[in-house]
């Protein structure tokens, strides 16, 4: 009977004898916190971001991958440390082939697929999602501190935090806290974070043999996807408003084991992977972290936090009577908000039982079709209740998804901002660097030549400068490769290039 109960198709035949379990089960199971659904939403966001970026040209022109985003790249697990091969391989093997980003049995997948796969495995195993929260106003990651939550949620959390049963069932050690996502992005133990991206991109050019170079390129693209996943979750209101309990422990799942954020579920079901809207034009920011948060408050987390409510950071219900004015109700509601923004506009208390919407400020002249619903509220006898419904989710997704794509595309271009020019003629190569921001420090352009067997060896280093340095190409060289690992005014910098010797 239990088995039948846990099947969604049987949940309409729940027997009364099990109603106790139905009522209590939400207290006994920890709820899903999968951020934007990795397999669909993150995959689609990443796909759109990469298509809007310059990565195709980078691969085709700088890395001599003629098919660019469609270039098949082989990750050979034999090139990896056995432990890493097992862990990474297990996560890749778990991916859904219909999404187009699961590598084949031969380890081959198009470059685009590797980036998308990286965004998906950034949250595999699922406990990694705990490190994808960031509250920019407090500079903290996911924490239980702060905010008054409903009693039911607190009860659930008592069980969720109980640890023993939950941890035994899930194999996780999630205690409703996590590292701030910007910190996780830079963590050495994040195998699809920025350090991995820099290291593997460099290895994709300077490794001695072609096989390991291809494997390193695949890993660099995976890490690029993992980096984008962190940024993309900065465009999830719950993730930037420290809202796990309210957003994730609410109702809405298809079964008692399947609770989750109704907004994220809405986005996943409405758009899937292929239906995610195209990214807007790439956003240019001064540093990697500025894509997430910055003093100018134009990081994605900053913008998302102050412009959107999440399910668990809404105003508390306001007590009203027939003499209460809209202004008074608005004032009371504002006092219960855990964050100062977004502000709550004037409330319309007419129409008992009618759903009203509060609209985002700053868009007063926008045509009705483009006005963004901020939250919904409903006057019932004695109080006004606030909530987010599918109409609000629809408007939020319409605003957020292209913007997330724009930030993610911008980050891709930012990471590949520097370009090493290799001009090869008459037995010499002229080397120059463009695209870096300010002066390049702490690094030189290292040059390698490739022989007929594909083996690469270093032969020179030159300063990273826009003024070309000319070097003689070693005899027998078939290809020249260059790598620069340094810093510029935008932070850490890795640039790579290669050209055939004509």
């Amino acid at each position: 009977m239990m088995c039948a109960l846990t099947r969604a198709r049987a949940r309409t035949r729940v027997h009364s004898s099990l109603q106790i379990l139905l009522a209590a089960a939400p207290l006994l199971v920890a709820m899903p916190a999968r951020a934007y659904d990795p397999a669909t939403t993150h995959a689609g966001l990443t796909e759109q971001a990469v298509l809007a970026s310059e990565l195709h040209r980078v691969l085709g022109h700088r890395l001599s991958r003629p098919l660019g985003l469609f270039e098949p790249i082989v990750l050979n697990r034999a090139d990896l440390d056995p432990t890493l091969a097992r862990v990474l391989g297990g996560r890749l093997d778990a991916l859904d082939p219909s999404g187009g980003y699961r590598p084949g049995a031969d380890g081959a997948a198009p470059a685009l697929a590797w980036v998308v796969a990286g965004a998906v495995i950034a949250e595999t195993p699922a406990e990694r999602a705990k490190n994808l929260f960031f509250d920019p106003s407090r500079g903290s990651g996911l924490t239980q501190a702060g905010g008054a939550f409903q009693v039911g949620h607190d009860l659930r959390m008592l069980f969720a935090e109980g640890g023993g049963l939950r941890a035994a069932a899930t194999g996780t050690t999630f205690n409703l806290t996590g590292r701030p996502s910007p910190e996780w992005l830079l963590a050495p133990e994040n195998d699809v974070g920025l350090p991995a991206f820099y290291d593997q991109l460099e290895q994709a050019t300077i490794a001695e043999r072609p096989g390991p170079r291809a494997t390193a390129l695949a890993r660099a693209l995976l890490a690029l996807g993992g980096t984008l996943a962190v940024l993309e979750d900065a465009g999830d209101p719950a993730h930037v408003r420290n809202d796990f309990r309210g957003a994730y422990l609410g109702d809405g799942g298809s079964s008692l084991f399947d609770r989750g954020s109704p907004f994220e579920r809405y986005v996943a079901e409405t758009f899937g992977q292929a239906g995610v809207p195209p990214a807007a034009a790439p956003v240019n920011r001064p540093t990697v972290m500025a894509y997430i948060t910055a003093a100018d408050r134009q990081g994605l987390a900053d913008r998302t936090q102050r412009r959107f409510f999440s399910d668990g950071t809404l105003p508390e219900p306001v007590v009203v009577d027939r003499l209460t004015t809209g202004v008074e109700a608005m004032r009371d509601a504002r006092e219960s908000l855990p964050y100062a923004l977004p502000t709550l506009p004037h409330l319309d208390l007419t129409g008992m039982g009618d759903i009203h919407y509060a609209y985002a400020s700053g868009e007063p002249g926008a045509p009705p079709a483009h006005r963004r619903r901020l939250l919904a509220y409903l006057r019932v006898p004695g109080r006004v209740r606030f909530f987010l419904d599918r109409a609000v989710y629809q408007d939020s997704a319409r605003a957020l998804l292209p913007e997330i794509g724009a930030y993610a595309a911008g980050l891709v271009d930012h990471l590949f901002r520097a370009d090493i020019h290799l001009e090869i003629k008459a037995g010499s190569v002229a080397v120059s660097v463009t695209g870096a921001r300010g002066i390049v420090r702490k690094g030189e352009v290292r040059l390698y030549f490739e022989d007929a067997s594909g083996r690469r060896s270093g032969f020179a280093s030159v300063p990273a400068s826009t003024t070309p340095s000319t070097l003689t190409i070693p005899a027998g060289a078939r290809r020249i490769a260059a790598a620069l690992r340094a810093e510029d005014d935008a932070g850490e910098l890795v640039a790579v290039a290669e050209q055939p010797v004509l």
């Binding site: 846990t6 198709r9 195709h56 187009g100 999602a129 195209p278 790439p282 483009h370 913007e403």
Partner: protein, 380 residues
């Protein structure tokens, strides 16, 4: 206390059960509103939408996606079944019987991907072109109506839409080069183009045909060769609406007597990209500027190559000739010039639609790219 113990026991018992199964977002049959059984089995027929006839040999890839975790969810595995349609266009996907284990295991989705060259790919969840959700998929008696490929469609958009596992990728591999060229030569938002595709009138698919550009006698006239040729196509790349090839194989002779001709007609921007790409990838490439708007030669063993670009026509031509056939470099140049002179005889290019102004997305106050300065609401 007893109640708590009972509840714990029931939860523990559930942990030993089979997986959760999501409610299928599609019907069991086309004429039913009853939700399907996500586990299957599935069956249907693949037909040509224009001819209303079954399509044999279409690749049908079915995949179940699994997730697990009680506290967190993540992909935990999948099952994929790939079949080819029979002569009657029908496919059958057996019921999933190898279920993942554990109370937290979920069967999250089922997706069917159908691919047949010359047609638009088909997914059970989305429609191409555009991004609309598909509403006509059913578990049993499914009818997959494949639309003919149209020149206005973009292979890059199509491949991204198609997805699918390794076997689908293999079947669609012939689109890779075209897709890459599109991304190289164009820089418009893909969705903008996809939107314009939806307004495209139905036009037939016409392959590029370069048979008029060069023949056996003309080769003999240039090289003085007296033997026979067997004419065919080079086999590494398929003929498409923008690419064709000719292989003049010298009968009874080694490869060094063969002549090869490849032509890409891609438009001005993409042809430039293709030309540069060939220059960086062909062995021993060096500029010669002897034919067209730019040309270079390459050499691989006994095979010499000459590639040239004709910007006005958006054409890149690659000619190869072995040292047995072309004993002098000038002979290869003569053949190339002969081909260049025949380019006007190619059938006219089918027009590709430019995006319409109304296809540009409306401005959005939330969009930082459209409105780079902070709006009042974002300036606390």
């Amino acid at each position: 206390m007893r109640r708590v113990v009972l509840l714990l026991a029931m939860v523990a018992a559930s942990a030993a059960c089979g997986p959760l199964i999501e409610r299928a977002p599609f019907a069991v049959r086309p004429d039913s509103i009853r939700p399907a059984d996500l586990l299957g089995p599935y069956d249907g027929i693949v037909i040509d939408a224009d001819l209303d006839r079954p399509i044999a040999g279409a690749t049908v890839a079915a995949a179940w996606a699994f997730e697990n975790g009680i506290g967190f969810h993540a992909p935990s595995g999948s099952r994929e079944v790939v079949v080819q349609t029979g002569a009657d266009g029908r496919y059958t996907i057996p019921r999933l019987d190898d279920l993942p284990e554990g109370a937290s295991a979920r069967i999250r989705r089922f997706t069917l991907v159908v691919y047949h060259r010359g047609h638009v790919g088909w997914r059970s969840d989305r429609v191409f072109p555009g991004q609309a959700a598909r509403r006509d998929f059913s578990q049993r008696g499914n009818r997959v109506r494949l639309d003919r490929w149209q020149p206005a469609y973009l292979h890059a958009t199509h491949l991204v839409f198609l997805g699918g596992g390794a076997k689908v990728r293999l079947a669609a591999a012939w689109e890779l080069q075209a897709a890459a060229l599109e991304l190289d030569g164009e820089h418009l938002p893909l969705a903008t183009r996809a939107k314009s595709e939806t307004t495209t009138a139905q036009v037939g698919l016409t392959m590029l045909d370069i048979t008029k550009l060069l023949n056996d006698d003309e080769i003999r006239g240039v090289t003085g060769y007296v033997g026979k040729f067997e004419d065919g196509k080079l086999s590494d790349l398929p003929t498409t609406e923008f690419y064709d090839s000719r292989h003049f194989k010298a009968l009874g002779k080694p490869e060094s007597f063969d002549v090869g001709l490849r032509v890409w007609r891609l438009g001005a921007a993409a042809s430039e990209v293709q030309y540069n790409k060939l220059m960086t990838t062909l062995p021993g490439a060096h500029a010669t500027d002897e034919v067209g708007d730019g040309s270079f030669r390459a050499q691989s063993g006994e095979i010499g190559g000459l590639v040239f670009l004709v910007r006005e026509r958006g054409v890149v031509v690659s000619m190869t000739c072995g040292s047995g056939q072309c004993s002098e470099p000038a002979q290869l140049a003569k053949l190339a010039k002969l081909v260049e002179s025949r380019l006007p005889e190619l059938p006219p290019e089918q027009p590709r639609l430019a995006p319409t102004p109304e296809a540009v997305p409306p401005s959005d106050a939330d969009n930082p790219a459209v409105k780079p300065t902070p709006s009042p609401e974002v300036s606390p």
